[in-house]
Structures are given as C-alpha cells and as structure tokens.
Amino acid sequence: MWAYVVRRLLGLIPVLFGISLLVFAFLRAIPGDPAVVMLGERGTPEQIEALREKLGLNRPLPEQYVIFVSQLLRGDLGRSNFSLLEVRDLLAAKWPATFELAVSAMLVAMLIGVPLGILAAVRKNSIWDNLATSFALVGVSLPVFWLGLMLVYLFAVNLQWLPSGGRLSVEADAFFRPITGFYVLDALIQRKAVVDVLSHLVLPALTLGTIPLAILTRITRSAMLEVLSQDYVRTARAKGQAERVVIWRHALKNALLPVVTIIGLQFGTLLGGAILTETIFSWPGIGSWIYEGIINRDYPVVQGGVVFVAFVFVLINLLVDLSYALLDPRIQYR
C-alpha cells in the first residue's frame, strides 16, 4: 500500500506540470493585457509599456513560462501584480477560509444528504421518497446566487438571527485573534467567540452545501436501491436478521463506495468553485480571489491559485482512492 501511495504521489508531478502549462496558456490566450487593466481608463502608451516591462510581460512567452515553473519548483508563486504581495502569503491567508467553508458545506451535505438518501431508498415510493427526490431535484436546480441572497434577506435582514456576511463580527474583533486561520479551530483554542464564528458559517455553508446535498441524496438513494436488491441482502433477510441490521450493517457499507467517490469529487469542486458563495457572503476565500485575479488579469494570482487548488483536488482524490480499501476489502493496492 505504501508503494502505491508513493507511486501516486510521484504521479502528481506530471499532473501538476500539465496544469501549470494549461493555466499559463489559457491565461495568455484570454485577450487583455494586465498592464492595460491595471492602468484602467487612464493609462498612456508609455506607462503601459513601462508597466509591461516591470511585470516581465514583454519577455517571450516560453521565457515567461520557464520563469514561472522554476519559481514554482522553488515554492515561489510570485507576487500579485496588483497588490505586490506574495501569492504564497495571500494563499496562506485565504485558503483556510475556503477550506473551513467547504468542510462545513460538506458536513451539511453529508449529515442531511446521506440519511435522506437512505430513507428514500428504504421507503421506496413512499411519501418520504417523493419528498426526498423532489427536494434533491429542486436543490440541484437552485441558482446559488439567488439562494444565498434569499437566505440573507430572510435570516439576516428580516429575522436578524444570523449575520449576513464575513467570518467574524466586529464586536468579536476585540477579543478574537486568528492563529491558524481556521476560525472555528481558533475560537475553540481561545474559548472565545465560538458562537460568533459558528453563526457566521451557517448561511454560507447552507448555500454552498445545497447542491452537494441534493447530489448526495440522489446518489445515496440509487446506490442503496441497487444494494438492497442484491442476493446477499436477500440472504440476510432470509436468515431472519432485523431490518435495522440488514440496512445499516450489510447494505450501507457497500452502498457507501460510490457515495465516498462523490463526496471526494464534490469537496474538490467546492474548494475551487465557491466563487458565488464567497462573493455573496464577503467570505475572504480563494474562490472569489482567483475569480478577481482572472478579471484583473493578475497572472501570478491565477497561476498560483489554480495550481494550488489542483494540487488539493488531486490529493483529495488520492485519499478517496485509499479509503476504498477500508470499505471494500476486494480492492487491493499494488
């Protein structure tokens, strides 16, 4: 198994290399010169030229790519053209926010989606099944932006139960210090502002979690249905085992395999794709940051951000693959 892990890790190198080339090429293929965007309505040709030189944009593309990759190999992601800050520092500041949000959204999706899917499968064609499947259908079709704004208007503006944005209230600023950047963790460590931090997570996590929740419900339901029709389930029932035992011990474990795959994939998507949610809730994460980088043609930000997200994505996939062994002893790693 360790040989397998090492092999997979080595396999990351060509993948990341390919991604770096793709993101580099795609960025340059988008029309629009970063120097022009930075100077906006006012840039004169001389200023644009000077800025291009400063940013190294006047060098030949292959040279720019070689610079980018050699920096990357040294762990240097360059500086944001706009803020002049190290992309590495920006990533370090922003990714915990996205990670925390994605984990919370995934928890929402898993804790509601999986039981709902099981319920729907076990009570197939009942009112529960119908409710769950229509909920799943509505869930995937809801526009994230609309859902987020509706939640804000209902729970933050009208009812005033929950904050409408940000990660921490201004009142809590006085006694809360970010340590790791994962605010939930930081709050727990300091035993301060825990409620405050959690309350800021609720609405964005619900917004971001709705689509994976709906997907998980559907996948769990169909996986369960398939397993429930298998011979060994029939055998277990024939042996007179309690329905509870049949479902939870025999069926669920096998039905979980595709569910875990989907969880892994969805989580990866959440990490990079939280753009809309992060925008609505002014959540200082990497999704909205990379998006803005694209709009601004901030090449180092987009390159560094995308390579990082890709790296995490591939890593999660590796973890998913490894977790199969726990769920299905037939799978062996060689």
Binding site: P31, G32, D33, P34, V36, V37, L39, G40, E41, R42, G43, T44, P45, Q47, A50, L51, K54, R79, F82, S83, L84, L85, D89, L90, A93, K94, A97, L149, V152, Y153, A156, V157, Q160, W161, L162, P163, S164, G165, G166, R167, L168, S169, V170, E171, A172, D173, A174, F175, P178, V195, D196, S199, T279, I280, F281, S282, P284, G285, W289, R297
Partner: protein, 531 residues
C-alpha cells in the same frame, strides 16, 4: 434575537476589557491594494489611506476648494514657477516622530526620484507621480526640477514652467505624508498587511486581515482637536454591492459606498437607512471616432448628439442621481463653463436634416461599443447603450452593438483606427479642469484617430489647453477653460451623456458624513449615536 444576544455578549466583553466603544464599521467596496502612499492609483486604497494619512492641502468638506491641512499656507513665486508651503508645527506621526519639512522632502523624493535609496524595491513604481507631474527626476518631461527644505517648517518646489494647479494636485489622496522612520524600518513590507502604515491622520493602523478587514483605531494625538469622533474604524471588504446593502440593512455595517442607483428607492423606503449622495465629479460620455467616414463630418457627430434623448435616458437610468448638460466637466467646475454652451436640443427631425446635409439621408451603419463593466458614470452600460441605440435608429443610424471584456475594451480602443463609437467616462483626481480636459483632448488624443489612422490632433484646442495648464493667472485660466468648454462642445468628439452623483448609504444613527466630490473623504467627523 440571537444576533442581539450575541451583540450584548460581545459588548459586555468589550466593556470588561475597557476597550473602544464607538466603532464605525465601514462597508468598503474592496480591499486596498497597498497602504503605501504615492504607490497606488485605485480609489479603494485611497479611501483607506485617507483615514491614516494627511496631505499637505485638504479640501473643504463637500467641495473641491483647497483648505490648509499639513501645510498652513502656500504661495507661488511671481513667475509662477515655484510653490512654497509653510508647514504645521507640532504635528506628530502615529509612531511619535515629528512631522516637518524633512519628512515632506523624504516622501516627495521617494515618489519623484527613481534613484532614491528609500524607494521600495518590492515592485513599486510610483506611477501616479509621473502621471500627474510629467515624469521623474532626471528626465526632461518632469515638471518638478527641484525640491528643497527652506527651514524646518518650510518647503519649496521649483518647476520648469508654472504649474498653477500644483497645490490641489499634491493635495489629492494619492500623496499622503508617511512617517520616514516607519518606512525605513519596514522596508519593502511598508504598506502591506505585515508592515502597516504610519501617517499623521485621524486613525492609526492596527491590523489588516487579508481578504477580510482593515482595523484602525483613533489617533489620540490628532492635530485637529476633538477629532476623530469615533474610537475605531473597521473597514470590511465587501465587494458585492447587494451584499453591502444587505449588511447595512442587517446593521452589521454602519455606512457604505457605491450602491447601484437602482437601489435609491429601497434605501429611502427603509426607516433605518439614509441615502447619501456624492457630489458629481465625473462624466460618462459617448466618443465618436473621426477615423471613420461618416463620423469624420462634424455635422454627423452633432446630429448624433441631437438624436439622443439624453434627458429621458438620464431620468430612466439615474433618476435623481444624474444630470445631463453639454459640458464635459461636472458642475463642480461651473466657473469654467462657457455661457455659450447650451446643450444640443433633442430633435430627431433636425438631426435627420443634418445627416441629409452631410450626405447621409438614409443613415449609415454604426458599430457602437458599450462597456462590459459597471462604473459610477455608467452603472448599467448595456441597457443605457440600447436606449441610445434606439434613439439613433430613429434617424436612420443602424446600430450594431459590440462589447469585449474590460481589459480588451480599454486596450483596443487605442489600437488604430479604434472603435467607431464607444462609451467611457472619467472621474476626476483633483479640483482642476485640466484634469478633465488634458487626458481627453490634449494632443495627441490616443483613443480617437484622424482619417489617416493617426492619433487625433486638434491643434487649436491643443494649444489652448497647453496655455491653460501653465498659466498662473486665475482669471486668464477661467477664460481659457471656458473657451475650451465651447470648443469641445462644438467638436462633438465626446458627447457628455451624464454627470452622476454616486449613491452611498448609512444607518440613521450615523451623522457627520459629508461626501467629497473627489471620491474619498476623511471619516474624522463621522459620529455614531445610540450605541
């Protein structure tokens, strides 16, 4: 309910810690790029810097009239080529060091002199100095020839030619005076989240949490007695305007800027909120490029100006927040307006006649470019473009709408022969008409072209503007810019559509917020009641 409970909890914790109570929470439209003064050009950073730094010259609240700040007085030499500033005594930077002429010299050299050893090598290039003052030390283009300390509290700037607008330009938010000690100590980290910023302004830097907020606290030694009124100022970065408005309604922020004009009604209807308008200091215009055949005829351009029902369009898209007239400059520059300029009346029949006279009785095809992004001067460019296009089609001009993403749009309009007709605008930097005219009409105009595809050169206007930006006689300058106003109007190369008043909003318990036409203001006078 729960939020109130949370607040109470938080407040009691604050009280027990004996910390600041009157915290202003400002919903900022984005995150500052950098807090190093003179090294940024974006309005978001300037707004934040305005709270930390003072400039030599300030402006009367709500206007563009210069008033003393770090300089108590200033005067030009008889030939207009030198400006001397007398500085305020007894002012201290947030780090406790003294403000004096050497501090000003230090800052100016950093912006102006590429060889200055304290210039920060993190990629900064202080482009705004070159943009506003010709260029850098050691070049012929640089307006500034010399800057020197006369005595501890007097500094003198010598120029190659008279720069009548120098005091207002050096007073713009770009040029906050920073502590030399802090800059030397922080090096390349100065102005970043790690290094902070040190000025003499009403608030001092406490923490910049990347992507999230900037936390400032009251400067207890601020030279304006009794100010600032708030104990702390938190700038939260909330890029989405709908999110900013939602937070304002929910009460998690106290005041915010840049709300889309369509929300005016909603703000007025909310009993907890007040709309706050910024005096107009911008122009949204339609540029007509004479590089293309029909548009090279001034009659055709004037016909277009006549065919667009500007009043109706401004009423529809800006309501109370916009005004339309024939002047390229906003009404803050009324003194420089020509009395001979009365706007082209909306008259499709007459416009059609003009087109026929020019030889286009059946109209022509026109590529009409609209911006892909929202700006204060054009909040919804596509819809506004469609409204203008409908008016143009009424006189036979067949409009083909075009757009590109913002970066390409900005770039391609300058690639000869440019766009046929396009929307764009301008927001002023400082209170002088040259800041509106020069970038658009001083030759060579790089985004309009002549029939040979060369940057457009309107010689007479060019000469006039050159005279205006160097004359030190105020009466003469007024005459010159009035003439320029009329000439620009007659040429109809850029048809001013709107001068808009950007919409901002605050909670009812916030007072003392007077908005500057210049785009940012110190929040030192802003107070919060009912805490």
């Amino acid at each position: 309910m729960r939020r109130q409970w949370l607040m109470a909890l938080a407040l009691s914790a604050l009280a027990s810690a004996g910390l600041a109570q009157k915290t202003l929470v400002f919903g900022h439209e984005g995150e500052p790029v950098n807090l190093e003064s003179g090294n940024i050009t974006d309005g978001v950073s300037i707004y934040a810097q305005r709270q930390i730094y003072d400039t030599l010259v300030d402006f009367k609240p709500g206007s563009t009239d210069p008033v003393p700040a770090l300089a108590t007085s200033w005067f030009a030499s008889p030939d207009g080529k030198s400006w001397t500033f007398r500085l305020r005594q007894g002012v201290k930077f947030h780090d406790g060091t003294d403000f004096d002429a050497n501090a000003v010299l230090f800052n100016v050299n950093r912006w102006w002199d590429p060889k200055d050893p304290t210039r920060i090598q993190g990629g900064a290039n202080y482009e705004i100095w070159g943009e506003l003052f010709g260029g850098y030390k050691g070049t012929n283009e640089s307006f500034l020839k010399n800057v020197r300390v006369v005595d501890k509290y007097t500094i003198r700037f010598d120029f190659g030619a008279p720069i009548p607008y120098f005091p207002v330009a050096i007073g713009s938010g770009y040029f906050g005076i920073a502590s030399p000690t802090a800059i030397k100590a922080q090096g390349a980290k100065y102005g970043t989240p790690a290094g902070g910023a040190v000025g003499t302004g009403p608030f001092r830097f406490k923490e910049w949490r990347v992507g999230d907020r900037l936390i400032l606290e009251k400067n207890p030694n601020f030279w304006r007695q009794g100010l600032p009124k708030a104990d702390a100022l938190v700038m939260r970065f909330i890029k989405d305007p709908a999110a900013r408005l939602a937070e304002l309604r929910a009460g998690s922020i106290d005041l915010t800027i840049q709300i889309p004009p369509a929300n005016l009604g909603a703000i007025e209807a909310d009993r907890n909120l007040d709309p706050v308008l910024r005096p107009s200091f911008n122009v949204g215009y339609l540029a007509l490029n004479p590089a293309y055949k029909p548009l090279s005829d001034v009659r055709v351009r004037q016909a277009i100006a006549m065919a667009i029902n500007k009043k109706a369009i401004v009423q529809a898209f800006w309501g109370k927040l916009g005004e339309t007239n024939g002047h390229f400059t906003p009404s803050s520059f009324k003194t420089y307006w020509s009395s001979e300029v009365t706007d082209y009346e909306y008259n499709p029949t007459k416009a059609k006649q003009l087109l026929a006279q020019a030889g286009y009785p059946n109209g022509f095809d026109l590529e009409f470019w609209y911006m892909p992004v929202s700006r204060p001067y054009f909040p919804t460019p596509k819809e506004i473009a469609e409204a203008m296009g409908a008016d143009l089609s009424a006189i036979g001009i067949r409009v083909k709408f075009q757009t590109k993403d913002w970066a390409t749009y900005l770039n391609d309009r300058k690639v000869a022969p440019g766009f046929q007709a396009y929307m764009l605008g301008w927001t002023g930097d400082y209170g002088d008409p040259s800041n509106f005219f020069d970038p658009h009409f001083a030759s060579p105009i790089t985004d309009l072209f002549d029939s040979a595809g060369k940057p457009l050169d309107v010689k007479e206007l060019n000469a006039l503007l050159a005279k205006g930006s160097s004359s030190s006689n105020q009466a003469e300058r007024i005459r010159i810019y009035q003439q320029a106003d009329k000439m620009v109007f007659d040429l109809a190369l850029r048809i001013p559509i709107v001068h808009s008043q950007p919409l901002n909003a605050k909670r009812k318990n916030i007072s003392g917020w007077v908005l500057s036409p210049l785009g940012s203001e110190s929040l030192e006078n802003v107070d919060k009641s009912g805490l």
